[in-house]
């Protein structure tokens, strides 16, 4: 009814204004300008359509509709004239206007899906003509609250899998489009931000100087993409297959994500504010023993291990008494708190006849759920376009942002360090209270845990992990400026020359300081404070010059051509300074000159240049048969001297079957049907500069009396002038179909990708007798094949109520086809650990490799007449883990290790539903991963019984010949040898209610009371519900970050959060 009333009101307003306009037109003949206004609405629902383009035919006049579908021209044009109206997802329309005044223009939904423009590399293409696999992230996804937009891609587009490395605000994520192509590096897609090519290289936000004497390194990368304000993003398009990505040549193999930021609209001035506030809690914590339980475990260890009895007699007495007294330190709980996010965004956008602008400022702050962790970002953007003449257009866009991330230390890549990491808290001594009665940190030496000392003092210095977390500074500051200017000259109506120049500056500053009273700042009493700073300056500039030509031969043949030449220059320079032992903690990392020991300095640089030729030819016959030929020739400096240049071609064909005459009788049911077929080869050249060169590394030795460090130099790697990019050859077949008045839309694709020339740096490629432990070579191949579909349906379309659904499904199967001379290799494991994953021909990357177990050894297994095979090299007794002798040779050796499952999901899926009822809207988004395994390394560590750490409550059910003969975890042994075994390889399948949002749009009347055009309020919850069998903290886990070979390993990273947000959007 509301809607109807409004309709009447507009209609009457329209009549009134006609009179006014007519009289003004008649009375003031010397004034040329008149107002033309109206509203664009959906034909069926009569809902206003925001962002539709209204063009006055034969002129340059063009406006966009506002959030209420309204548009207005102030123009010298007079009726009669013709509007051309276009809107994404609707049929375009031409309408002749014969009178002034308000006009409601209805657009038909659906079939415009074929005429709208789709973003492709270096341009747009009519959707009906597209041959490649291109997907657009749904608009409503972009409005979800997040610190970094890459998180939004999770579940939003079929075939895109996003894995956050941790819940740390600003943390990195790995993004895989149709599976990983490379074993070594660079599996993340290429980002193109307003035309600027940006590869999100984690090494640009982290410094790990290669020196054994560096006191500290921050060790964990920050996410370069988090510098981009998600609220600035207008659209995200994902190019998936070779036909779509070949225009990016040697960098197209992993898919391309094209990001377009918000532009102004002609002839309008808008101010909009959006703000949100959210609260977060940890999703889940793991149960560990409390003080008295741990005291009992200690007693068992003590009884079982004669070698510690004399050493720990005094400890035992004290531990027992503390246990009995109920002393308990809950370290995990002490570290956690309620997190909070707030986001404020102010955007001013609009334009006049010839120019459009958009100016925005944003403040985002997230207080982490762990003490002393947070993320703050300030960002601003200015986009401006001006048509200087009918031929010449200049556009520029610039954004700058500054973000500060405070994070935990200690989850350093490739080493499992305990200090200050979140997982270390699970291992902390439960018999030490976190705080004293007066709320100060308890740093009194507590009973532990070191038999070499036979003392109740395990440490000579204060040791309180919570104090360490609260007082250690580990900060990453990113300053990111990206500017882009382009000039476009229309030589003829069919020929356009465009030149773009852009520059990208990313400056990283890493600050670290562990005060003298912390574990890392004390190092066993050897130092007083440890600090470091690092900077990385990254400069990239890009120049692209293209010529585009399009021509229609009659109404049948349509030709589009594009050629271009581009050059990109990327340089990063870093410095690193560190020192230890300061006379005061007061200056933290700001005065490293005062360090008295272990002063370290370092610097480095890396330069890459790329020159490319690119071209694309699209031909369409009646928009029914479409052919796209694409190619790019890339010359890249990091490639070996003999292989600098490569050529990457692709071909795509699509057929709009529904346009055929034979199809017409079906057109009532099947509104459109399109088949696509593409093939091509694309590259992955994301390897570091100087990879092909032999470079010298420092190898020191001590000589002389007194011994003095002497620097030696020797080549650390073999040169390889034949080193080149990995090539992925991809075939894609797809179908797009619309049914039942376009209420059901299905896009399905099936693809096969084979990556050859795998860039492998590793052992086993050259003989060890060469003296080089590893080499970099293009060797081996792997494949990814899969299917994916997206089903969008409009289940209910009523006047007041609508219900739309989107179901996305993607399955990818990955397999290593060859590894050159070797059949398998193990990625380097952290020191003291055995690699749980193998890379093996015939198996997918991320295959877990270890022993199967069959419960625990029984007395009969050990002493019976028919004993079970036992693990060699270890003495195994009753109650120990029983490993399965796969080879049947009577003993359990490393040969009995076998495939224990894979970290890559069999398929991923998401299901989103959007309901609207009058002004209310509700969206519910489920997302899940199915059939993947996780190596629960934290649980393995938490079941390792030693006197030096706390353990999981699963050990309450430990085997004991008398007390618990049916116990499920093994007999207590001090410091057991840990094997990679199936008990810690768990099913990682999950279904997660990722987002649920309830919003309300106030009516115009209400909005008008505060002079606003539009007001929307919403509440939203993230990660509200997770259904999984996984016993660890969170099934969305990836300890090893961008490392391709070790996915699905859980070492208790910063936990994922459950979060609740309220927000408001107002446009004035």
């Amino acid at each position: 009814m509301d809607l109807f009333k409004r309709y009447i009101k507009y209609a009457s307003g329209g009549v009134l204004s006609i009179f006014i306009l007519l009289s003004s037109a008649l009375g003031q003949t010397n004034t040329n300008n008149v107002s033309l206004w109206g509203r664009v609405i959906d034909e069926k629902t009569k809902e206003p359509l925001a962002g539709a383009t209204v063009h006055i035919k034969g002129t340059t006049h063009e406006v966009s509709t506002d959030n209420n579908g309204e548009f207005k021209f102030i123009t010298g044009q007079h009726v009669p004239l013709v509007y051309t109206i276009s809107y994404v997802g609707y049929q375009g329309r031409e309408i002749t206007v014969t009178s002034y005044g308000h006009l409601d223009i209805e657009l038909k939904g659906g079939s415009a899906a074929l005429t709208e423009a789709v973003v492709v590399g270096y341009g747009t293409q009519r959707r009906s003509d597209v041959t490649g696999s291109v997907a657009t992230v749904p608009k409503d996804v972009l409005t979800r609250p997040t610190s970094s937009f890459d998180n939004l891609l999770q579940g939003a587009v079929a075939g895109v899998v996003v894995n956050q490395s941790s819940g740390q605000p600003g943390a990195t994520a790995t993004i895989r489009i149709r599976g990983g192509n490379s074993l070594s590096f660079g599996n993340d897609p290429l980002f193109v931000i307003d035309g600027f090519i940006y590869y999100n290289d984690n090494s640009l936000t982290n410094l790990a100087p290669n020196s054994g004497t560096v006191p500290s390194v921050t060790g964990v990368s920050s996410n370069g993409l988090s510098t981009i304000n998600p609220s600035d993003i207008e659209s995200i398009d994902v190019l998936k297959d070779a036909s779509a990505t070949a225009i990016y040549g040697s960098r197209g193999a992993n898919g391309v994500v094209i990001i377009t930021t918000k532009r102004g609209t002609k002839n309008s001035n808008n101010i909009s504010y959006s703000g949100s506030y959210g609260a977060q809690r940890a999703g889940k914590t793991l149960p560990v023993l409390n003080g008295s339980q741990w005291a009992k475990l200690f007693d068992d260890l003590y009884a079982a291990t004669p070698t510690i009895q004399s050493g720990l007699a005094a400890n035992k007495k004290l531990i027992d008494s503390l246990g009995a007294a109920g002393v308990n330190g809950d370290w995990v709980d002490a570290a956690l708190r309620t997190g909070a996010t707030q986001n404020h965004q102010l955007t001013i956008y609009g334009g006049d006849e010839k120019s459009r602008y958009s100016l925005s400022g944003n403040y985002f702050n997230q207080r982490g759920i762990i003490l002393n962790t947070d993320f703050t970002r300030y960002s601003g953007r200015f986009n401006y376009e001006k048509n200087y003449s009918k031929q010449f257009k200049l556009a520029s866009s610039i954004f700058g942002s500054n973000s500060i991330e405070n994070k935990l230390t200690g989850t350093a890549y490739n080493s499992i360090g305990f200090g200050n990491s979140f997982s270390s808290l699970y291992l902390a001594n439960p018999l030490q209270p976190v705080k004293n009665a007066d709320d100060t940190y308890n740093t009194t030496p507590q009973p532990a845990i070191n038999p070499t000392l036979n003392t109740i003092s395990g440490q000579q210095f204060s040791d309180n992990a919570i104090q360490d977390i609260a007082s250690t500074i580990n900060q990453t500051k990113l300053t990111h400026v990206l500017g882009n200017v382009s000039g476009e000259y229309r030589l003829t109506s069919e020929l356009v020359v465009k030149s773009t120049f852009g520059i990208d500056l990313l400056n990283t500053r890493l600050n670290y300081y562990a005060p003298s009273y912390t574990n890392l700042g004390n190092n066993g009493g050897t130092i007083t404070g440890s600090g470091s700073v690092g900077t990385i300056g990254y400069t990239s500039w890009l120049n692209e010059n293209t010529v585009a030509y399009n021509h229609a031969f009659g109404n049948k043949h349509f030709l589009d051509a594009l050629v271009g030449y581009t050059t990109q220059y990327q340089k990063s320079e870093n410095t690193f300074l560190a020192g230890q032992s300061f006379s005061s903690d007061a200056t933290t990392y700001n005065n490293l000159y005062n360090a008295s020991v272990n002063k370290v300095t370092g610097s480095g640089e890396a330069l890459q240049t790329r020159n490319s030729w690119l071209g694309r030819l699209s031909y369409s016959f009646q928009h029914r048969y479409n052919l796209t030929l694409t190619g790019r020739a890339d010359g890249a400096s990091p490639a070996g001297a003999n292989k600098k240049w490569g050529f990457f071609p692709s071909v795509g064909f699509s057929w709009n079957v529904s346009d055929e005459s034979f199809f017409q009788k079906l057109s009532g049911t099947i509104n459109s049907l399109k088949l696509r077929l593409t093939a091509g080869s694309v590259g992955n050249a994301n390897f570091p500069a100087y990879s092909s060169l032999s470079t010298l590394t420092s190898y020191g030795y001590y000589l002389g009396s007194p011994l003095t460090a002497t620097n030696g130099l020797a080549p650390s790697q073999l040169s390889n002038p034949d080193l080149t990019w990995e090539t992925t050859t991809q075939y894609n077949a797809g179908v797009d179909v619309s049914l039942l008045s376009r209420r059901i839309n299905l896009t399905a694709d099936v693809y096969y990708k084979k990556t050859t020339n795998l860039f492998i740096t590793g052992a086993g490629l050259v003989p060890l007798s060469s003296g080089y432990a590893s080499a970099s070579e293009n060797i081996g191949s792997l494949e990814n094949k899969g299917v994916e579909f997206t089903l969008n349906t409009e289940n209910i379309r009523a006047r007041d109520f609508t219900w739309r659904s989107s179901l996305i499904y993607a399955a990818n199967a990955n397999k290593v086809l060859s590894l050159g001379p070797s059949q398998s290799f193990f990625p380097i494991a952290p020191t003291g650990q055995v690699s749980p994953v193998i890379v093996k021909v015939g198996l997918p990357v991320g295959t877990f490799w270890g022993y199967s177990t069959a419960g625990l050894l029984t007395t009969a297994d050990v002493y019976g007449s028919k004993t079970s095979p036992k693990l060699t090299g270890v003495s195994q007794v009753t109650g120990d883990r029983k490993y399965v002798d796969i080879t049947g040779d009577g003993q359990v050796t490393t040969a009995d290790k076998h495939n224990l499952g894979n970290a890559q999901p069999k398929f991923t899926a998401s299901f989103s539903n959007t309901f609207t009822y009058k002004n209310l809207d509700l969206s519910v988004f489920f997302q899940g991963s199915f059939g993947n395994k996780i190596f629960n390394l934290l649980q393995q560590q938490l079941e390792k019984t030693t006197t030096t750490q706390n353990v999981s409550t699963t050990l309450l059910d430990r085997w004991d010949s008398l007390a618990n003969p049916h116990g499920r975890t093994p007999k207590v042994v001090n410091a057991p040898v840990v094997q990679v075994a199936d008990v810690y390889i768990e099913d990682g399948t999950y279904i997660r209610l990722k987002n649920i949002t309830l919003g309300y749009n106030f009516s115009r009347d209400v909005a008008a009371k505060i002079l606003a055009k539009q007001i929307r309020v919403y509440v939203s919850a993230q990660n509200l519900l997770t259904i999984t069998h996984y016993k660890g903290l969170d099934p969305e886990v990836n300890f090893y970050d961008q490392n391709n070979l070790q996915p699905g390993i859980d070492y208790g990273v910063y936990p994922n959060t459950r979060s609740y947000t309220v927000g408001v959007n107002v446009t004035f």
Partner: protein, 525 residues
């Protein structure tokens, strides 16, 4: 149209960047090896391989060779701190060709050999005029590198038998990919001897900043050991006489050594930071206890003091300790079973013995055990020390003459006298209580020498080599009988195949069927 021109001009001016890489922050073989200091640095990198691992794992002489040579011997099995199953397998004779320690040592030895090959190839290409500092002539730098190459090949050929003989750097992946066949042991030894012969032209000693470099004495000493290993007793004796200090009391046959080598009176001085590079040390891997990783930190015996329940390594059982008389000073210098706790003022007795030799006591015994210092031992690893020269001399004379000569007795008795605390210097001591009884047969004397070697060199990466090189009972029998005689029979799985280590499986896999000459050692397939 002017604007277009401007834009294109702007574009073109930035385009066409060169694709050739010229790193500004990295040295490459193209811009290095041009000066004398470059040559010195190239040789320092060769030394570095003795005490450094590329992946910060245990270096050759920091612990890895010890794991390979001592754990499979009758002195050790494995220690509670050996959580790596592959390390444990070495101790129980159950290791296989994929054992990561075996792989590691093979890789490390060739890594060092390659560094030496580079220095030996590149230094002669540097113009002679560059060598202005006479203390580092091009010739001597090459000789130092040749000594290290010989030392590492000597370890290789003893551990693995015939091995690929690579004497030049291959530089590119394509060249390195060539599959070099295993050279017969004799060819490897011929190369070792040539290299060592060249190193005998090095200076006899150094001062100041160059102490610790290879000397001619070290070259002769290692040459002698090579000859003994090959049962070339005559040449061994010739070389040994050049090393043994002339005028050593009690030695009748002319010895000519002018190096001034002698034994420390105090046995433990051979393993202390304060007495490093002393008169007993002929060549040592230099450690300085650097923090962070294993680089230049001797991690033998002293690896995990601070936060783990166990010290690094322990002997196989108490019978190893009980080999020693209570009066033998080597016992207390090699093992300990109790510690003094400064905080409580009490002695703590351990339930078993631990190795002490490489524990760095320079910062004070208790401190070393209480802080993190345990992980930072500054104790040098004595690759070859004078006591071994005396014992090799005793052994070689016995074998050469078919029975122990007077000099053979004198040599071994000097070592024993020092053990029993009566030794002063120059071969002199007064208390002859512990001298070997005279008139031993060749085999009894041989037994005496090997027992003495065992006691003298516990944890010095000698015992397994000794067990397998002795062939008087038949090839490998001495090894087999010794390890099978251990209490509790921890090495029950030992067989004759264990007298050579398997070529790492990755190497066999790499060669595949492509080089039929490249076969695994017998019994390891």
């Amino acid at each position: 149209m002017k604007k277009i021109g401007l834009i294109l001009l702007l574009g073109a001016s930035f385009s066409c960047k060169k694709l050739t890489e010229k790193p500004q922050g990295n040295l490459t073989p193209d811009n290095f090896y041009q000066t004398q200091s470059d040559a010195v640095a190239a040789v320092t990198a060769v030394y570095s391989t003795l005490t450094t691992d590329i992946n910060n794992d245990f270096p050759i002489y920091g612990r890895n060779l010890n794991l390979i040579v001592d754990n499979p011997s009758d002195n050790q099995v494995y220690s509670p701190s050996n959580t790596n199953p592959d390390v444990r397998a070495l101790g129980t004779a159950t290791y296989v060709s994929t054992n990561d320690r075996v792989h590691k040592i093979y890789a490390q030895l060739y890594w060092g050999i390659n560094r030496a090959n580079i220095a030996i190839d590149k230094i002669p290409t540097i113009p002679a005029a560059q060598f202005v500092d006479p203390s580092h002539s091009a010739d001597n730098l090459v000789r130092e590198a040749r000594f290290i190459r010989a030392l590492l090949y000597f370890d290789l050929v003893r551990l693995f038998g015939p091995v690929p003989l690579v004497v030049h750097d291959q530089a590119t992946v394509a060249a390195a990919g060539e599959l070099v066949s295993r050279a017969p042991k004799d060819s490897v030894y011929a190369q070792i001897i040539t290299d060592l012969d060249s190193a005998t032209l090095l200076p006899a000693s150094y001062t100041g900043a160059n102490i610790g470099r290879v000397t001619s004495g070290a070259a002769h000493a290692l040459l002698a050991k090579v000859h003994v290993t090959r049962h070339d007793w005559g040449n061994a004796v010739t070389e040994l006489r050049k090393v043994i200090t002339a005028g050593t009391a009690g030695l009748i046959d002319a010895t000519t050594g002018s190096y001034g080598y002698d034994l420390f009176t105090k046995f433990s001085d051979a393993f202390q930071a304060a007495t490093k590079n002393g008169k007993e040390h002929i060549f040592s891997a230099q450690f300085n206890g650097t923090t962070g990783g294993f680089t230049s930190t001797n991690t033998l015996s002293s690896f995990t003091w601070s936060n783990s329940a166990y010290t690094a390594d322990i002997p196989a059982d108490s019978s190893v300790v009980h080999l020693f008389d209570i009066a033998d000073q080597r016992r207390d210098a090699t093992f300990y079973d109790s510690l003094f706790n400064q905080t409580t003022g009490k002695w703590v007795k351990w339930p078993f013995f631990n190795f002490l030799k490489f524990v760095d006591q320079s910062t004070g015994f208790v401190t070393a055990l209480q802080g993190n210092q345990g992980a930072n031992s500054k104790v040098n690893f004595p690759v070859i020390r004078y006591a071994e020269i005396l014992l090799l001399y005793a052994e070689a004379l016995n074998e050469l003459n078919g029975s122990p000569t007077a000099d053979a007795y004198t040599a071994i008795n000097i070592v024993r006298a020092r053990a029993y605390k009566s030794y002063t210097s120059g071969g002199s001591y007064t208390d002859h209580t512990y001298d070997l009884s005279p008139g031993l047969s060749i085999s009894d004397f041989r037994d005496a020498v090997f027992t003495e070697r065992r006691k003298e060199f516990i944890q010095e990466s000698q015992r397994w080599f000794d067990l397998v090189r002795r062939t008087d009972l038949g090839p490998g029998q001495y090894y087999l009988q010794s390890v099978l005689a251990m209490p509790g029979n921890p090495k029950a799985a030992a067989t004759l195949k264990d007298t050579l280590f398997p070529i790492p499986q990755t190497e066999i896999d790499l060669y595949g069927g492509r080089n039929p000459n490249f076969q695994q050692n017998p019994g390891w397939n």
